[in-house]
Amino acid sequence: MEHINTYIGLVPLFPLIGALVLGLMHMLTCKTDKYPDKLYGIIACIGPILAFCVSLILFFKLRGMPADSRYLIHDVFTWFAVGDLHVTMGFLADPLSSLMILFVTFIGSLIHIYSAGYMAGEENFGKYFAYLNLFLGSMLILVLGSGPVVMFVGWEGVGLCSYLLISFYCKDTDNVLAGNKAFIVNRIGDLGFVLGMSFLFWAIGSGGFDYHSLRENAHHLAPSVGLIVCLLLFVGACGKSAQIPLFVWLPDAMAGPTPVSALIHAATMVTAGVYMVARFSFIYAHVPTAGTIIAWVGILTALLAAFFGMFQKDIKKILAYSTVSQLGYMFAAVGITAYSAGIFHVFTHAFFKALLFLGAGSVIYALHHQQDVWKMGGLKEKMPTTYKTMMIGALALAGCPLFSGFFSKDEILFSALATGHTGIWAIGVLVAGMTAYYTFRMIFLVFHGKPRDQKAFDHAHEPPAVMTVPLIILAIGAAFAGVLNLPSLFGGSLAVSHWLAPSLVEHHPHVSVWIEITAILASVIAFAIGITIAYKKFADGAVEPEFSGFAKWGANKFYIDELYNCVIVQPYKTTGSLISAFIEPKVTDLPIKFFTWLYKKLGASFKVFQVGYVRVYAIYMVIGLSLMSLFLSQTIN
């Protein structure tokens, strides 16, 4: 009984109530007199902050329990029960989900606070915050759900909210198209997720369809079915977490407001895929083939996205590709069964990516919605706080030693090397160098050198405190979050890994310390090379280059959007128009049209009897009566 806890549900409930209240307030007042923006901002921040407080309570409650039975569960109600399928609307807090909700609510709260400053004066302020709260609530349902079906509720919820928020500036068609793209690509992934879920139920679901029962029954899963389930679920993860081949929506998702990008990239949505794989580690750990595929897809995504990131000129797109790249790392980690390393990278990544996006948001805010890095420069003096915090974020992202990103990324690369995935490790090191290059390319272009657009530069200013304070808090997190999982080489004890261990199924290989040192050295060297090249090329007044050859390919993202358009979208459209032009009218509609014609003719021929005089209808009745009498009088002697 001690594991039953009735207030887990409050964590997603607070933001959802906030969404409801804000939505109603907005709907009721948007036409007439509006409430002041501050009121919306304050109400919007209450939900996430309360959720964070409850998450903290839950976290400490879990810490107080013995390590091998750390979980809290609350079954709110039976959602539906059909045959063997008993789905409970329940919430589960265990080390994995409690860590997730902790940083999701923490970073979510900071982003809400920042948004109150960033979005000030925008139209539909209330709607924005309603969506934002709903987004956070959905993500918390996803994380806290006690079974795959509840997770799917949140899974769809974040998909919906991402659509709503990406196309928030819906007066511009491009933004709406970007929203559509995100939604449709996510649907493809969701199909995989649903199929995977169904297969899982078919295989081992009869003993109960929540994580506890599934984990107990996981060893009944046949390897072939397990592989199918794993790959189908991974298709879902690909859609949500933007992996090859479904990554195309994430860069376009930059159409939304910058804090939304921060929320999507740091706290919610894209990390859902990694979380899901880690959540199902009890299945993935049994199917090494699936793990290898996931790891290779992940690391290739990382490589590809890093390529693209090197040639972008939109500050938000650089960050978007860096996210895709980092997500690739995370999938590589969970693919090689280093789940805790992957989740830890999710954790640190949340801090520095939120920081970088919010910093980029400050820059964009200061330059009045200028996003082209080639029109920035020299902002170091004008925006010192933003510069310093973003620098910390960039160092963390690039994997500078002692910053958080370094430890988490190193953990992944070390795991790859230790489990013998040398290829993945080598690509990972290469990507680490590229990450350092493109990150500092951005930093140098934005903050160093001379201003390229003097007029914009003159108007630039540090944003208000409501925006800089979240930056500073995040910068502290980005700098020191890595300490939580210090490997023993640096005198730590892998605290996060040990914390997560009960929720995951993983084995830590015991290898010599030299391999660890090799991995670290390689990462550091890659980082140093990357940052040096970036410094040489961009630190002092570079001009926008004309891309040619390979670089042009990179800048145009290998024409992947165009390729998808040609290979999938256009044939689909052609087939559709063919069906609507030929098959529907000529093949399927023709028999139906014939029958409607027949009925019409029949009806017209019976029409002559309908003369309209009531007397005549009475005559018909009498005729019927007489016929019946004639027939019945046969029966009477």
């Binding site: 005559i619 009498v622 005729i623 007489s626 016929l627 009498s629 004639l630 019945l632 009088s633 009477i636």
Partner: protein
Amino acid sequence: MKLLVPFLKKTIRKGALDIMVAEWLFTAFSIVAVLGSAGLVLSRHPMNGAMSLIITIISLAGLYALLSAKLIFALQLIVYAGAIMSLMLFIIMFLNIQIKDLPEEKGRFLYLIGGAVLISPFAAFLIKVVKTLPESQTTIIGNGFGGVNEVGLVLFQEWLLPFEIISILLLVALLGAVVLAGKRRLK
């Protein structure tokens, strides 16, 4: 008629009526009733039709008396012949119907013959059914059968609810008639 009714009453009070007399009366009444109804169907002007119907109704009242239904006999005369038919006559006269107002109905007799042909199987069937019933005499029963007291007891004991419902029906009909025929307020 006026002579017939006291005569009938006297004979009923006496408690016995010769069967021959009863048969003779039945034949007379039924011929009058059929003739009256034929007059209703055949006559062109509704006033003539209404008069024929009254004849039928009164002869039916006589038949009710032969069937020992004293209350129904009285009601037939008072309610049907007295109230309903006089209302009808009143309306016919109120509308002041001229012969030119009436529908042409040139093929009326053709219609009637055709209709009769149509209906005859139905009538034949019903008569065939009736023929299967057991035959019985209809001597007058004197022990209060069909009197006001006895029918009233049955009505208010076993048929109370239908009786009340009928009263509501009459009320509704009253309202309906007022609404339909009443003056429309100018819009």
